[in-house]
Every structure is written in structure tokens, then in C-alpha cells.
Symmetry: C2
Subunit: 393 residues, 2 copies
Amino acid sequence: MKNSVLIFIFAFISFSLSAQQDLFNAPSLTSPVINADNTVTFRIKAPDAKTVSLSGSLDVSNAFAEITYDMQKMNDSIWSFTTPVLLPELYRYRFTIDGVRTLDPGNAFAIRDVGNLSNIFIIGGGKSDLYKVNRVPHGTVAYRWYNSPGNDEMRRLTVYTPAGYENGNGKYPVLYLLHGVGGDEEAWSGSGRAVEILDNLIAQGKAKPMIVVMTNGNVAQEAAPGKGSVGFVQPTFMLPHTMDGKFEETFTDILTFIEQNYRTIQTKEGRAIAGLSMGGFHTANIALNYPNTFDYIGLFSSALGVRPMNNNPVSPMYQDTDKKLNQLMKNGYKLYWMGMGVDDMPMIYNGNKAFREKMDSIGMRYEYHETAGGHTWNNWRDYLTIFAQRLFK
Amino acid sequence: MKNSVLIFIFAFISFSLSAQQDLFNAPSLTSPVINADNTVTFRIKAPDAKTVSLSGSLDVSNAFAEITYDMQKMNDSIWSFTTPVLLPELYRYRFTIDGVRTLDPGNAFAIRDVGNLSNIFIIGGGKSDLYKVNRVPHGTVAYRWYNSPGNDEMRRLTVYTPAGYENGNGKYPVLYLLHGVGGDEEAWSGSGRAVEILDNLIAQGKAKPMIVVMTNGNVAQEAAPGKGSVGFVQPTFMLPHTMDGKFEETFTDILTFIEQNYRTIQTKEGRAIAGLSMGGFHTANIALNYPNTFDYIGLFSSALGVRPMNNNPVSPMYQDTDKKLNQLMKNGYKLYWMGMGVDDMPMIYNGNKAFREKMDSIGMRYEYHETAGGHTWNNWRDYLTIFAQRLFK
């Protein structure tokens, strides 16, 4: 018995290697190896290479900046590098061999960010344990299409329903979670680890069970690259009509779809909205234009300062902003939360500063959370972790 | 206005390149380019390389075998190769530069198959138009966790609900669709393009609207690699307990979950099961052990011939097979469909032949569909396309 299975395995492997499938060309090197002291060893076989380097979000001492390390040739064919001790975090990396960007053949796990794939790994402990799939009750992740009459098309979004949603009758609050430039409806569930963060926070009793709706903020794009009818078109980082008010204007199509299709609390107490970068800009404007809709508003490294915040003729969404801000304040809300890295780009850092000053000038309440680092997923995962625990309580 | 956005874009790009994010390192080369005559041109910049080759499922004249082409150095740094005319199909490929396997930096679209990532592209026309996302009503794809008391854990599966399911009250038939060795609950929605195939066939009126449940047949694995609590462990091609009856034995946990959680037709008229390779072996055994459950049974390149089909002591699932086969025949069913490539590995080809002979010997009805090619996704996508159109009619 055992034998026949072994024969099957070997037949399968040799058949595959020789002929028809690429399935079993397993790499012989294990990379990366997370060592006991949280240094990490990377290895790649490149017998003829002149230079091999490792690049990624690997420098924890400098605001998680992108860093490049030269790898060392260990013997005739293996190049290796061991990092300094890394802090708990999700890390991205890639190799460059003689000027050619490549993934780690030893690591099948990669995330696409705009047009590039990078390998990932997690150093556990502390906050990054929230980024792992743990043995806790899991929510459901669904990729759905909603009708957007405002855009005259079906559009794709991602819906997280918390563990228990499908087997109960209760109504749930909803967090609308928006991506940045170059992102799409898969950004928060990919690089953002939003599903794991919510599963874990809810399981620990630190966040209320909530539905999370991850939208696509590019109205020129019905779905994430590769998931729409344009096919496998290489992603670009900013699409037409991405910041011209159209997404904010047609956001009601999303609200309508979610509230018609899910058991939701359909008052402002049951609605939160947050976004990173461009999605923070969208969030700010959606909060202004739908002033009695959300009790919780989160701006993560929000791309304020890019558009004039008042009387911008490109869209009615961007007009009478001062008046709308006053109205939003008057209507009331529970939390207006802003996260910002000190090393963010000046246009964004200063745009947020100017916006806070405007809020100060009218006595509008907000919480400002300034952190190390800059315009990075490291910060956005942190901000989501903090913000999610503040919602619906 | 326009200007401030342009400034933002450039600030963002230069900021990103210099500092914090790897988002906008867009490749300058477009690759692959599908030419008007369906030849395909691949390009990669590799200034110091001595040899660059292109490998993949690119040889349509030889049963879609894996083929390697040498690329030509066009000038100081660009290597290029243009294929012969390719037939409509989804193709996988990768580059090898001086012996190092690498993806195409110009193509962000890749599929993981066991431990390897490969780039993909589609040559449209004919059958492969079914593999594309077209402007048709789209079903929902949900990743869910079900309780498996038989395995004493929560396990992950993929559920496709057809367009209209969420907004209606009707009951739907269910196709259970099983992967092969090294695969998981994401195999059929990834390499198999099952979501696109079903969306398109249903939109064309060629297949009945149905729910498709894509399971994980590795009982030693709660979820696909990277999606379970073991973390980013490099995938291996065959896990313990993968063909020892445990999956077949605990299949009732899946049936129970689906029928309790979805509006399904809960008689054999409303149930189909099919699987590829190991999943075809699982399918054959599940059909035998639950003989009044499925009216439609599909074996795609089924891994018969690996286990003795009768009185195998490893599991009660594999015992009294002859008796169970007679019972299955006596109970009746609408379709027992077998697909097989002539170039499949002898153990599998002959195992299926022996099984057909056994069915013949007792006068058991089946349909046998022999095709060109071998143990490949090209065939399995074809078999699904044919089989799905035969269901629930």
C-alpha cells in the first residue's frame, strides 16, 4: 500500500519534471529562514551572478524605509545574507541579480502592490501576531459585484463578514475601508492584513464584530487589475478620474448595495469610514458630503493638501467645504481620528496640518495620532489596529 | 487644479523611489505583448546575463508540454523572444536568467501552483474567452471556514454563488469541485479559472446557475498555504493523510455545512461532484461511499490505479469497493463522466482503463472523453467546461 503511493509520488515527480507540469520543481533552498533571535537569513542559488542584493522594508531603525543589502557569495553557487535583528512586523522584499529584479524562488508567498510583486514574511510577537492567521473564529471574505448606476457599470468590492454573521440574525455595524493611489479592492485584504487584524481583534474582544467593506476607489476601473474585463493589463499607479469627485459622488451606490444586501445597523452609530492616502482624501470628502452618515471617521496618512479643500470647481463634492465642515461638526460624531507619520511627504504632512488648523479654528473635535515612519503599510496596519478598537463602542 | 494633482503625482513618485515605498518602480518594458497574429513577444532587461530562456506551457503542437526557448539579446540589455502563433488558451511561463528562475518583471499577474509562481496570460478566441472576465453578471467568490468535527478543526473552502443567488429566494444545485495533489481550495479558482468559466457559461445560458464548492482535500492542512495558522510555510506537493480515506470520510462535514448555510437542492438531483487527479480519486470514492448523494460524477484525469480499488485496509472508505460500485449502479445516477488525456502518465491512464473495464463488466453506464494532452490544467479547464454544461438538466 505504502509502496504503491510512493511509486505514485515518484512517478508523478519524474513525469512532471520530464514532461507536462511545472508543479514539482520544488526549490532545494529554504529561504527566508527566521532565526531564533529574529535575524533572518536569505539564500538564493545564482552560480553565474556577479552581484546579488536584497531589498525591502527591512530597516526597522529608520522608519521602515526601503533598504538594500549586498548578499555574499558563500560557495560556488549560493548567495546569502543575514539581517540584523528585526522587530515584529510584516516585511516585503525582493532580490536583484545583476540588475534584474526577481522574487525569492524559495518563497511562494508574494503580494502585488500596484505593478510589482514582492515576497513577504512575518516576524511574530507583539503587534504582528495580529497579522497572522491564528486559531480563532474566522470571518468570511467575499468578492462581490455591486451595481453602480452612477458609474453605469457593475463594480467589484471585498466584504469581510465577522465570524458568526452567517449563522445569526443580528444586525452589524459596518466599516468602509478605502485604499490609496495604485490600490484597489484587494489592497486592504492583501498588504493591509485587514482580515487577520479584524479576526484577531474580534476574537480577543478588543474590537466589536463588524462588517468591513473594502471598495475600489478608482472609478475608471471596474475591478482590481486582472479581475476586470480589461484583462491582464499591467497596473498603473494612478488612473483617470481618481480624484475628481466621482468616487465620492457615487459612494451612495456602495452604501445602498451594502445596506440592501447585509444585515446592517443603518444609522450613523453603525457606520464608520476610513482610508489611507488617497482613500483618506476620499474619506474626508465623503464625511463632508454625507454629514449625518458616519459616527466614526478615520484619515490614515490622508492625501490632504493635494486638492484645494474648498470651492474646487472639478466637482460639487469639493465645493463649499468650509460650510460642510461646520455642518459636520454641528451634526456631531463620535470620533474623527487622524494618523500621520512624521516622515510622510511634506505635501501630505502639511496638508493634514492645515486641515487640523482649520478644525481647531472652528473648535472641531478630532484625535491626532502622530507616529514614526512615513507613507507605509506598516503605519496603515497600525492605524487600522488602533482605529478598529475604537469603533461602535 | 490639474497642476496640483500633477505635482502630487510627481512628488509621490520621487518620494517613493527615494524613500519609503516600492509602489511605483514601474517596469519600463511591456512584456508579454500579444501580437495581432497571436504570436507573443517576451522581453526582459538583463544587461549582464549570459543566457536567458523562457519556459512554460507554450508548445501547442505537443500536447501543451512544457517547453523552453532561448531568448536573444537584442541590444546591450534587452533580451527578447517571439513565440510561434499560439492557440487560444491560458498560458503559464517564467524566465531563467543564468540558471535562476525568475518571473517577468513586466507582468504583475502570477499564479502559485504548489511552491512555484508563474506568470500567466491569455490568448483569446474560442474556448479561452470563457477564461476571461467578461461583462456578464458575476457570481460571488467567498472564502469561508467550516467546522469539521471529523478533523477536529475549522477548515477553509471557497464557495462560488452564481449571479442572482444573493438577491433571490430560490434553491440552487451544487457542484463540489476537488483539486489534485499539491493543490488546495484556491486551485480551481486560480489555475482552473472556474469562476470565469461558470460566470460565462451561465451568462450564455449553457450552464444552469449553480453553487460551486471548492474544497481543500488535504486533511493535514486547515487552509491553503499562507491562509492557515501554520503561517508562510513553503508548500509541498503531497501532505500526510492525503489519500488515506480521511478526506472522503469527513466529506459529510462539508456537505452538512453547505446544506445548512446555502439555499441548496438537497436531493441527488441537485448535487454533482468532480475532481482532477487526486481529486478525481477522492470523487470516485466519495461517489462509492455516499451512493445516493450525487446524480452527476466527474473524474478528470483521476488518480485511479494508485490505490487498490477494493479491500484496501487503510480505510473503510476503500473497502468493499466492488459491492459499493454495484450499489451505485443499482441506485442510479444521471451522468458518470470521465475525462482523460492520451499522454497522461501510464499509471493513471491504465488505472482509469482498468476501472472502465470493471464498469463495463457489470454493465455500468459512463461517458468517456479522451483528449489530446496529459495531466494539465489545459485539459482540466476543458473538462470543467464540458462537464458543467451537462449538469442539472
